[in-house]
Symmetry: D2
Subunit: 324 residues, 4 copies
């Protein structure tokens, strides 16, 4: 996984991965699915934008960032940072189940908890549990899911909160006491992460791949969106994600962040990309990579590579007067 060879790393023997740290975050759990701290440098960052920018500046070879939560939806800062600026490429994806523990320092009981530190996404995902068990709790926002755990472990006296919602591994990592396990409202919640790198060779096609794009529409008319979608439909390409984002200069102008089923080396995807390139004012290709989040939909009859190859041969023969 990952398209950068040793030369890309200037002779360094270890790849460097920027991610939303510190230790114990869900992002670290995602990173550990593809790399080990024995063999690679783990470079914690304060936010997802910094993690991505570290790849652009060359401070890291890769970034691992959350792109979509099954509960919260897309991580818009990630989508927007990938959509503009120097080009980057997605090289893989990882899924991490999301649950939370309510943890504190030794000596604090549940009844004493008034102020709860939590990343806003964590707070949102545990809202119902909190309303039931700590209806008077006040939200103290945190910049990451583990920042409050690190603060509690630091021995600092004035924390400004009594307990925190943290990823389960952080309880042990930071020597905390769990007041309650698995407090997320949705027990099937997952977050999808992507591996980001600099442009380079596309990971080889596996037969179950995903291609990520950013597409601007020529106008905000319903017809413009239909015309864009027909470029996929005419080649039988399914979409597993479509997300509108404001273009940023005014309300009412949108770009679309899209995950299409298939690989740029699949004929149907390549031809759909060509169609988008022709009819949309801007298309950014963010890579093709093996998908792990769901099985592929079926490939429709007439849209296998062999169908495209046969069709192209037929038209070539027509042009040369050899067929009809």
């Amino acid at each position: 996984m990952g398209g950068n060879g040793p030369d890309d790393r200037g002779g360094r023997s270890r790849r460097r991965y920027a991610y939303l740290g510190p230790a114990g975050t869900f992002t670290e759990a995602a990173l550990r699915q593809i790399a080990s701290p024995q063999d690679a440098d783990f470079l914690p960052q304060v936010d997802v934008v910094s993690a991505i920018e570290a790849v652009r500046t060359g401070a890291a070879d890769h970034a691992v960032v959350a792109i979509e939560s099954s509960v919260e939806g897309s991580v818009t800062a990630v989508l927007d940072t990938l959509a503009t600026g120097d080009p980057l490429m997605l090289q893989g994806e990882m899924i991490v189940p999301v649950s939370f523990a309510l943890a504190t320092r030794p000596g604090t009981g549940l009844s004493a908890v008034r102020r709860v530190a939590a990343h806003p996404h964590a707070w949102a995902q545990c809202r119902r549990w909190l309303q039931q068990h700590l209806p008077d709790a006040v939200h103290v926002p945190a910049t990451s899911n583990t920042a409050p755990a690190a603060a509690m472990a630091s021995g600092e006296r004035e924390l400004g909160f009594d307990a925190a919602l943290v990823p389960p591994p952080a309880v042990d990592v930071y020597g905390l006491v769990p007041l309650a396990d698995d407090v997320a409202d949705n027990h099937h919640a997952v977050t999808r992460f992507v591996l980001v790198g600099r442009p380079g060779p596309v990971p080889p096609r596996t037969g179950s791949d995903k291609t990520t794009l950013v597409v601007h529409l020529p106008s905000n008319q319903a017809g413009a969106l239909l015309e864009m979608l027909e470029q996929f439909a005419a080649r039988g390409v399914n979409l597993s994600r479509i997300e509108s984002r404001p273009i940023g200069d005014s309300l009412g102008r949108y770009s679309f962040s899209i995950d299409a089923e298939g690989h740029v080396d699949d004929e149907r995807v390549a031809e759909a990309l060509m169609g988008l390139h022709r009819v949309c004012p801007h298309v950014r290709y963010l890579g093709s990579y093996p998908r792990v989040d769901a099985p592929h939909g079926d490939v429709r009859p007439g849209t296998f590579d062999a169908d495209f190859v046969a069709a192209r041969s037929w038209v070539r023969a027509l042009r040369e007067g050899r067929a009809h």
Copy 2:
């Protein structure tokens, strides 16, 4: 015009054209637009199917046949004969204005006319005039527009009719007397003819071309027709003619005879053909040739050849990791 070189004619110096004869027909007028009896052999045939079959058997190099009347619509026998059987290719088209004279032998006055010989299409195109001027006239069907003229010229006594609807040139050719000129109900009526040849090199692209196809649908659902048409729409290809024809084995199954604007060497047409080849159970290509019947519609932005070439280069660069 025409793709058959001298070798195709076995060393013969003169091309042979089969057409719906005899002399004086509209078809002959169409043929004279592209060939002269001084330089080519004119081979009159009894019907359009015979003209087309003469090309298949090798008895002729080309056929000239009516394919569409602005009044009567498609000549279905021509569409159906081209759609099945040994492959043929359209190599050009010609437009002939259609008008009729009511003609007879010297000595017959309009008031004496009771039985009027006419090809059924001619009868249909003069119906209103006949109802006004000869309300009691009986239709005596003829196999061509000039067969009654030839019969009158032959001196035969028992014609079975008193006058005939004939193409204006036939009045002189056959030494007849016109009882009324320009009796067609629609004074702008035209018929479109096509030049048919055996498969071979496609006439070069002129920038104002037409491509003729026969396409079978996978089913008779509205969705199947929409899906077929979207293969054109997704590439911005306009249709100048679309005609449904029964497939012949039962009611409710159709093939479509289609004229698309553009040439197989136009990228947008080529890609639409590829799409049809993938999604339709049967596609027959009947050729690309210069159009004469109407100006081209505008080419839509994003569907010029340069747009396709740029899109293809972009996708190729994506696949090679050189673009994004």
Copy 3:
């Protein structure tokens, strides 16, 4: 069947049916499926246009005319006569299997047959048989399938032909001798006929109905045809027939003759008609009537009457502030 009550017939006790005669035609066979000469007046006409016009003038209460052959396609003269002029309404349809006998007068053998009288459609449907068994036969066109039979029966000496292709019942009706039975190339050929009447109450919905329309497009662009078809697709209405016809004033402008599955009393058909009325420059409704030519396609989920009624109630409640 038929919407005209006794008053429409001015007190006459017998309905009058115009049809393509004389006795023994396929059209008469269609007419006999719905009426008997004991109870109704059979009014033979010389052609289909005359049959239809007899309804317009009031000379007949109904007409029975062929509208579509499984081999030859639509009967364009019928489509065009229904599409313009005083409004008429289709009130039913009938299917008749089509086969032909080669028949002659007593005393003529097959080897003596040179000139074969046949309606052009009959000739087309028996072409392959004729090429095999009578390769030198010349076509003598006839105005109907039974006109040559009647001529042979009349005892006339100078027929101008030796044998005729006739409907099987005509052999006995006219006292002829069959030289060969069942000579049609396609043994499953059928012709569909329609019952035409003056505008009036629509036959009640049966659950397996068909609605016939004539629709003009705003332009000849591919998009215009797509937009028209989407009016059907958005309501899940399937088409069992779609036929383009020239509008008649120039090449390249078309109207479409359409059979849609369903009845004007079906909600999905009614709403599709409303959509056509809004987006097309001209729509002519030619009636809804029980279909006999094929089973209905399935009704798509969400397009049953109950779905439309529920949707309308919901929107009404929204407007009144009673729902959300």
Copy 4:
């Protein structure tokens, strides 16, 4: 504006508005566009979800909440809170220009600023300015744009930050010192707010209205999204906003939050709603209200109310046998 009559307020003479407080927020600026503290009760809330829930519980008559930023996109917590739970209705919208001041307590200079308190959205919108002018600044997240201002005004010693990004009005309200004005990266940034109430009468149509919906798709196939959009396109209804949201139980299932141009009392909108109700498993209507964010797109020919009324009359006449 607003559908709740005096009875809804239990005889109270003052309406109660829940909003994201405290004083000085952008939300308060939006609220002041439609109400004054002289005439209404302003009920500040700690977050947008609480503001919306206050309407559901009856603690407030209305809520004013941000729904979309021209820079950050949709406020997903608002979309999701409106999409499920007890029904609510949008009754109006307001636009507020968004800019920020960097403010602090008297006595602090720019060079001393290390830790900057900011709501995450404010931080995101000033990121470039901060990188240029305070490249080493650390983000201290705040729960609202004014919470840090209130903290500085309170005289608290241990703030945990040196300065804050605050709305310009908050500088005066809280007696702060501006270190820099107008520090947002995008000088045309605006935020759109909506007025939320309990279900009731729909605000009257003005001719420039917007209708907000939540729609679930039957599947995640490209075809399902196309089919949904065609329900709008077939009636000529444009969309001014379309946003996908995860349904929450797994990745890959989406609902769409949609703003359509027009009012439920517009025929084209009503019929599109009916179509959605038929083909989508779930549709929630969130109201029709005057739009202020942009001019309407043009109404397409054939989609004015008069066109729908004429079409409906025509079909009714067809059903009654009075038209054709």
